[in-house]
């Protein structure tokens, strides 16, 4: 069971959160073309290692959080607010 340290609420169980995948892809600007949207919607690195990803504290403060998590060990390195600039540590 994941335990995620919400910057607002403290450490909480996975059950309170929703997931939305890779947070390194960004929605293209309003004039983005088909390629840009393909990349946003479908193209994924799918790393075996550190992954920067979206989790929402649904049954809590309802904030979308940027979580840096290891996809093999499930270790969580960072839990940041949506606007924060966080990167995956080098493997």
């Amino acid at each position: 069971m994941h335990r995620i340290d919400c910057p607002w609420c403290g450490v909480r169980d996975e059950a309170e959160f929703g997931y939305r995948g890779d947070a390194t892809v960004r929605r293209p600007a309003a004039d983005g073309d088909a390629d840009a949207f393909y990349a946003f919607v479908y193209d994924r690195t799918n790393p075996k290692g550190w992954h920067v990803e979206w989790w929402q504290h649904v049954a809590g403060c309802r904030q979308w959080l940027k979580v840096v998590r290891h996809t093999v060990t499930h270790e969580i390195r960072t839990v940041a607010k949506a606007g924060d600039d966080v990167r995956a540590p080098s493997p």
């Binding site: 607002w8 609420c9 403290g10 909480r12 169980d13 059950a15 309170e16 649904v58 049954a59 809590g60 403060c61 309802r62 904030q63």
Partner: protein
């Protein structure tokens, strides 16, 4: 406007009385009939809004996962720039209107008096009852009087506020789940015995 009596969201079966094991030190469960308004301040609106609340209720806006109370009034942090303001039941919609009137556009004021239900759970074993569904650590080293947490209990999103050291908790829950939650709570408390008190 004064409006007719509201129907309790806890359903017709929620009658005062004793449930579960006899003897021991039972916990008590009381429906709190209150008005609740959810307020969400826009950016930059938080500070002026805090003053407004202070003036209106005498309460400071509590920081993250805290609640502030004074008498029967309570303000509970629920999300960044978002609080629940709870007061004894008054005229229909009056609390929301009053707040909206003074807060203006920069603060979203939403009446939840019917959308949320409040149960007060109290007794020496209250913590043990909640531990059967509440995932948050309620141990006194981690959660004190004035602490608040929105979390899931029995799969339902509930805001838990510790009111005193007995311990007593106010459980703020979605009205549509009120009956289901009460059922769970009675089952979980049955081992210790449980007194359902008349609503206040």
């Amino acid at each position: 406007m004064s409006a007719p009596e509201r129907l309790s969201p806890f359903g017709p079966e929620a009658k005062p009385g004793r449930h579960g094991a006899a003897g021991g030190t039972p916990v008590s469960i009381t429906e709190r009939r209150v008005d609740i308004v959810q307020v969400t301040a826009g950016r930059e609106a938080e500070a002026p809004f805090a003053d407004i609340v202070k003036d209106a209720t005498g309460l400071s806006l509590p920081p993250a996962h805290q609640a502030a109370f004074s008498g029967e009034a309570m303000v509970v942090w629920v999300q960044p720039s978002g609080w629940l303001m709870i007061k004894p039941r008054g005229d229909e919609g009056a609390l929301a209107k009053a707040l909206a009137g003074v807060a203006g556009d920069a603060v979203a004021v939403v009446d939840q008096s019917h959308g949320k239900a409040v149960l007060r759970l109290s007794g020496a074993r209250a913590r043990d009852v909640l531990a059967k569904g509440c995932r948050v650590d309620l141990h006194p080293r981690a959660f004190l009087t004035g602490s608040a947490a929105t979390t899931t209990v029995d799969h339902i999103t509930i805001t838990v506020v510790q009111v005193d050291a007995i311990p007593t908790y106010d459980l703020i829950l979605p009205a549509n789940f009120a009956e289901a939650f009460l059922e769970w709570l009675l089952m979980s408390a049955a081992e210790f015995g449980c007194e359902v008190r008349p609503p206040t």
